[in-house]
Symmetry: C2
Subunit: 273 residues, 2 copies
């Protein structure tokens, strides 16, 4: 999916919500516990309930990997379902990969050939040649970590160099030499508030994937005040706040309501563009 | 495996070699191409041939993941074989994971419960709370990226802050508040030469996992001149130089010879301690 197609989906559906599929087998509603294919059944219901209100889904690899082969099977099944039933939704594999060139090339095969998702989150620590192997796939995106939503983002990402450039700003600036805004997005945590101003100074045109609204405490309004672009330029993710909104057999309806609420807030913001 | 046990293995076997199992299905010897279980058969032969000359194995996750479920099955089978047949070898999952706390906790389950290896490589970019969830497992290690072996290491890892501290030095210094040298090692690329002096100033006692000898051009002598400690404190990895030493049916013997050569060089270095 290219940028224009993504932006069209956003403006047509009046939402820039991404639903995070951080499906923890221990947190499934009681009615699914112990059922065969419980994780896929859960994901399928969540997807069917929320699809009208979002433009993207973001399975978090750790939650699948942690259950070994069975988890990878659930992931594969979920992605296949999305691609068949909801081909206009953008799929993000949240895997935060990145390694030396020949190894990143292998990760690219995992996500852009075997799983065949639209995009992958990548860690910038190892620099250009850890990122470029992902860029040889037409229509596929990488989403580079810039400023993350967690407390530990303060440990290194705000380190200031001699020219007063912070590490996350350097990541944003330098990585723009590797790929343009048709193939690269950045992760910027919703919890970072005003830092969105700094981000937009360095990366005025890139789409941002914004986690941290909801369970982590970030505010949609703050994010949009500084981060939004004429074609939106934002994908705001919510995981736990939507998928675990209720743990009874009404979990899908509860997820629908939460996603619908967010879509309504987003529609108001988009109307002001 | 604790540090003392690892050091004992090194001094007893006179080697600090780690064999990297970067098994690429397209590079298998002709005699294995198209065979069922070719990757596991290859790994098993390489392990049986090299086990006397090394103390550690490092499967590189990307090479398994890239083949989806089949690859994960090969990885699981390889790790199980190592644990059953060679329980005194240290196993490193080279996966370079790291995410917000609840997600890193899931990755910890993948590698320290499901796969049950001794250690995992972790990326430092997201800071403390992305690393600490891995530390709750007694006897398990994390190996944090500090200064990597690739060209892209120059993009961010050498960024100097206002106190003249380079980013990799800051990672080494700050992360020592998270775990001690009984549970944390660092990745430092063999290609970094004299930077080992700087690394040892900041991390004088930690074990280092050193990739980049062989195919990537690093020198064992340089690494040891600045990096070695009284209990060795080094695991030097070679992947392609050993496992692809020959692509005929004699691949295992060729791997044995290469590993034996490295062990001989290492024995000479250890004799001077």
């Amino acid at each position: 999916m290219n940028r224009q197609e993504l932006a069209e989906q956003i403006l047509r559906k009046k939402t820039f919500l991404c639903v995070g599929l951080d499906t923890d087998v221990r947190k499934l509603p009681g009615c699914l516990q112990g059922q065969p294919d419980a994780v896929f059944t859960f994901n399928k219901s969540i997807i069917d309930a929320t699809a009208p209100y979002c433009v993207a889904y973001k399975p978090n690899l750790a939650f699948y990997e942690s259950r070994g082969l069975e988890g990878w099977r659930d992931l594969e099944q979920t992605v296949r379902y999305l691609k068949e039933e909801y081909p206009s939704h953008f799929i993000i594999a949240d895997a935060k990969r990145g390694d030396i060139g020949n190894t990143s090339a292998m990760y690219a095969r995992t996500f852009f050939e075997w799983l065949d998702v639209d995009s992958l989150t990548v860690s910038p620590y190892m620099g250009e040649d850890s990122v470029t192997p992902f860029l040889g796939y037409k229509g596929k995106w990488i989403i580079l970590l810039a400023l993350t939503s967690n407390k530990g983002s303060a440990d290194f990402q705000f380190t200031s160099d001699k020219q007063d450039e912070l590490l996350f700003e350097k990541v944003l600036r330098v990585s723009q030499n590797w790929a343009d805004e048709e193939q690269m997005m950045y992760v910027v945590g919703a919890t970072q508030g005003k830092a969105f101003q700094q981000v937009r100074k360095v990366a005025p045109r890139h789409f941002l994937l914004v986690p941290g609204v909801g369970a982590q405490g970030g505010s949609l309004e703050d994010v949009c005040e500084y981060g939004i672009l004429p074609d939106c330029g934002l994908l705001v993710n919510s995981s736990r706040g939507i998928i675990y909104a209720d743990n009874t057999e009404k979990y899908a309806e509860a997820a629908l309501e939460k996603a619908h609420d967010m879509q309504q807030s987003m529609a108001e913001i988009l109307a002001q563009l």
